[in-house]
Point group: C2
Chain length 231, copies 2
DNA sequence: ATTTGGGGTTGATCCAGATCAAAACACCGG
DNA sequence: CCGGTGTTTTGATCTGGATCAACCCCAAAT
């Protein structure tokens, strides 16, 4: 792995506090690869050989059951995925594929576990990271169980809108994936966008404009305990 | 807190490996209380003052949004809940209430965080625990997104059946809660039980009998990546 | 320029599951 | 034993969202 990639990874909370020697030990065993879009990086059920770090591009986590498929989450730079499987030395619960051309660092799980045993700061960072992940999934589950698909879309748009800080923004991926991510069909998503027009949402291709957020907020009723990523 | 309760808590993976002095420090600050059924122990949105340990009885975790309520999980002895909020020093994402008369240990979150900083074995145990919790929620989410309510019920019954190791078992709580837990209405749950009769499921009050598991398995298609608690 | 294929939209229909209403039942406390 | 309260069940109806099918659009390939 080229040393030029070290700083990006070192910059992650997860790797920021650990001892230098441990970090370089991890990096020595790791390697970086460029993947084209639509490549399946890992498959659910397989043993977790590597901790993955998305350096650029984007990765989708998804799952299968009985012939059905569902998008679970999207991972954007710079962050890791399947940390829990790596730590527990257990099988992946989700598959992952690149959404775009992506640069990804692969750190052998064995090494991660070894350093986890040796480096207390790293162990602590993992706690923080896992707690964050856990709470994110709980929020996603509340979103799913307490809201209709229209409400989920409205809140999703508000979350994106907040990050974008402007009146317009682009959807970060195809609508069909967004649909699966939100737990609905593409057809239904299309209709849902139309249903949000009266609340000032206009859609042109992948570009979204929210004229009057207060109007949409009144409908969506966003809740920090579901929609705030930070808390 | 009476010393007679120490062993139960010490027996948990979470507290098993930590130094004696740290354990007793935690216990000194903790206290144990008996609660009647239907008491709201914590409310979502509040700061996490205590790590809770269910010593006996049962606790339901649930959430609200926009006037709706949903059961998220049930906690049975001996285990902890809201560990993530305690560690992150963040607000609870879920509320908790006793389902039955319950004996619960309350450990000040501040103490937990202090010991977390001081005791590396404790920090490691927390990692394992959080990874476990994270993976459980992911499984629950797959269950929700990939299965119909009937399939969720069928798989739930098979999971309970497995634990019970007999042809019959009792539902661990009221049907209305089970319904909410499975993401359906009580009426629908009642009908769902009937729909499973052809697969050898009979219900008498809270008692469930599964005549021929293979029959039900063929319908439910349980998957270790969703239904195995251990993995 | 034409074909080809994949996303996206639209309309028609269908179905799972919610809602509403009422009856049956269980579990109390007096 | 009786009324009272809450849960479960049943039936009727409604609706959110899925499915099916056709069509549009655009981009890449020939």
């Amino acid at each position: 792995m080229p040393e030029s990639d070290y700083p990006d990874i070192r910059g992650l909370h997860l790797f920021h506090e650990m001892a230098d020697e441990h970090f370089t030990a991890l990096m020595r065993g790791a390697y970086v690869q460029n993947f084209p879009p639509q490549i399946e990086l890992i498959t659910e059920g397989e043993p977790s050989d590597f901790l993955h770090v998305v350096l650029s591009g984007a990765v989708e986590l998804f799952s299968h059951w009985n012939g059905r498929e569902s998008s679970m989450a999207a991972v954007r730079p710079i962050s890791t995925f399947i940390l829990a499987a790596t730590i527990k030395d257990a099988a992946y619960l989700m598959s992952a594929r690149t959404l775009e051309k992506s640069r990804i660092a692969l750190i052998p799980s064995q090494d991660v576990r070894a350093v986890f045993d040796a480096d207390n700061d790293f162990a602590r960072a993992i706690v923080t990271e896992l707690a964050q992940c856990y709470r994110s999934v709980i929020k996603a589950q509340k979103d799913l169980k307490l809201r209709t698909s229209l409400e989920r879309l409205a809140n999703y748009l508000l979350r994106q809108h907040k990050n974008a800080s402007g009146t317009e923004f682009d959807l970060p991926f195809e609508k069909r994936r967004l649909a699966s991510f939100l737990g609905m069909t593409p057809e239904n998503l299309s209709r849902a966008f139309k249903s949000l027009q009266p609340y000032g949402v206009s859609v042109t291709g992948t570009r979204i404009r929210i004229d009057d957020p207060t109007n949409l907020v009144a409908f969506a009723k966003p809740d920090p305990l579901i929609d705030d990523f930070a808390t």
